[in-house]
């Protein structure tokens, strides 16, 4: 899952951010993100951890591939399945723990 998944930071509580993924909000750990993050920022996430703050001028083109993968995915599309798995990776075991 090299792909990761981008999302928008909605709120921050200590080292955990609430991140919005296409309308689904999930907690994401900020322990290893490369730059300080604030609400409104976009971050790239892998297995529930933010690994990069996406510079504002690069957000739109970063999101394009994921928009396509999530909207046009047919059954058996491995890339889409991986992206959905990345979204599920956030949020702990209780679903909808995000606010």
């Amino acid at each position: 899952m090299c792909l990761g998944v981008p999302g928008r930071v909605v709120a921050i509580d200590g080292s955990v951010a609430t991140v919005d993924f296409w309308g689904v909000r999930r907690p994401i750990r900020l322990d290893i993100v490369d730059e300080p993050v604030a609400p409104g920022d976009y971050v790239l996430n892998h297995v529930g951890f933010a690994i990069r703050r996406i510079p504002s001028e690069e957000i739109k083109e970063t999101l394009e591939l994921y928009d396509l993968l999530l909207k046009e995915a047919g059954a058996g599309d491995l890339m889409s399945a991986d992206v959905r798995g990345e979204i599920d990776a956030a949020g702990g075991r209780e679903t909808d723990r995000g606010t």
Binding site: M1, C2, L3, G4, S15, R29, D31, I32, V33, D34, L44, H46, V47, G48, F49, I51, R52, I54, P55, E57, E58, K60, E61, T62, E64, L65, L68, G76, D77, L78, M79, A81, D82, G85, E86, D88, A89, A90, G92, R93
Partner: protein
């Protein structure tokens, strides 16, 4: 492909068929001007192979250009003895947590899924953080079977440093990509002339890490993203460097990869892990290719906390089908799934014989899922 800002329709930049065609024409011209066949280049990322198959890119590649997937699937290169350790722990009554793909990966005698079917307690998690939550909810010993490359290992490092509960430990099968590139570059059968490095793994390590590699081997490395045009542009640059005989590192994914990478994550990674040599399934012994916990974390290291007895699993003769599996040759770039007698016949996603058919990042599963013969897929870029 540096971004021009948000003006204009950026989306079209990436899936514009005319741009794709122009890049393919350039790629073909460059390949022909070299005048040799085949010119082999390797990528080391399951997501690259997924994108190549999903968008039908392989059909656009010039005949003389062989774009092969190397050891880029972390599930696939997890070695049988490592799976055996997880199986032995699960059967000894410890509660195991791991990523979903690991359930079906064959060990010497059985997979974790087989152990689960026999009654062992195995939980599938999407994140190591979920495994820690699981440990907090129970008094049982919970062992996280940690697999994946540096991109995933940094998450494991982060939870280890964040004071996990005392009943939580880690069985690390994490792998580190840069050393295996050294091994594959020297395999005489493979003859790789250039590497396409994976965007997001380089997000962690930075592209500077490839400079000593290029100096040692005289083989160019291009860092590329995952859009169809990212991959085509990366290949054009790579073949251009091969044609000019000027090996260097070129970062074609600046919107995600910097020279130094994510220093915070690297710090965490090396505070928790140390590189040791180890065998990668189907590839070779890779010096410094495995990530093991440092001594200061020994209380969280499942290998030190439990005495893991795998010998009972070794009194078993592997089934004959798995002996015909050519997964190792496929990952070394020597063979493709089409060369395998089992592919699509006795080896299927629901009943995989080899690890390459298990993972969504395995070459065989990707080829099977996107039509079996991606070369014939209609061009959709």
């Amino acid at each position: 492909m540096a971004p021009d800002g948000l003006n204009g329709d950026v989306a079209l930049q990436f899936r514009d068929p005319e741009q794709a065609r122009a890049l393919v024409d350039t790629l073909t011209g460059l390949t022909e001007s070299i005048g040799r066949s085949p010119i082999s280049v390797m990528h080391v990322c399951g997501s690259h192979e997924q994108a190549i198959a999903r968008f039908g890119l392989r059909a656009t590649f010039p005949k003389a250009l062989d774009v092969i997937m190397g050891p880029g699937c972390p599930v696939c290169i997890t070695d049988m003895p490592e799976v055996d350790e997880a199986v032995a722990l699960a059967r000894s009554g410890v509660r195991m947590a791991t990523y979903g793909d690991m359930l079906k990966v064959p060990g010497t005698a059985m997979s974790l899924g087989d152990a689960q079917a026999e009654g062992a307690h195995v939980d599938v998690v999407y994140s190591v953080a979920q495994a820690v939550d699981l440990a907090r909810e129970t008094d049982e010993e919970v062992v996280f079977f940690a697999t994946g490359f540096e991109t995933t290992a940094v998450a494991t490092a982060a939870v280890i440093q964040a004071d996990p509960p005392p009943n939580f430990s880690v069985l690390s099968a994490h792998k580190y990509i840069p050393p295996v590139m050294e091994i594959v570059a020297e395999m005489p059968q493979t003859r790789v002339e250039g590497f396409l490095a994976a965007g997001h793994a380089a997000t962690i390590t930075g592209w500077g890490i490839f400079e000593p590699f290029v100096e040692r081997h005289g083989i160019p490395v291009v860092v590329a993203g995952f859009e169809p045009l990212d991959i085509l542009a990366g290949l054009v640059k790579l073949v251009e460097l091969i044609q000019q005989g000027t090996p260097q590192v070129v970062n074609m994914f600046p919107r995600c990869v910097s020279k130094q990478g994510n220093l915070q994550a690297q710090r965490s990674l090396w505070q928790v892990f140390r590189p040791v040599g180890g065998h990668w399934r189907g590839i070779a012994h890779v010096p410094n290719g495995n990530l093991r916990l440092r001594d200061e974390w020994s209380q969280i290291d499942a290998r030190r906390r439990f005495s893991i007895d795998v010998t009972s699993l070794w009194e078993y003769a592997p089934p004959s089908l798995s002996q015909q599996c050519i997964c190792g040759d496929i990952m070394a770039g020597i063979a493709s799934p089409d060369d395998c007698e089992l592919f699509g016949r006795s080896c299927l996603p629901d009943s995989p014989v080899g690890a390459c058919m298990v993972s969504s990042e395995g070459t065989c599963k990707i080829w099977y899922q996107y039509g079996g013969h991606p070369d014939l897929t209609e061009v959709k870029a």
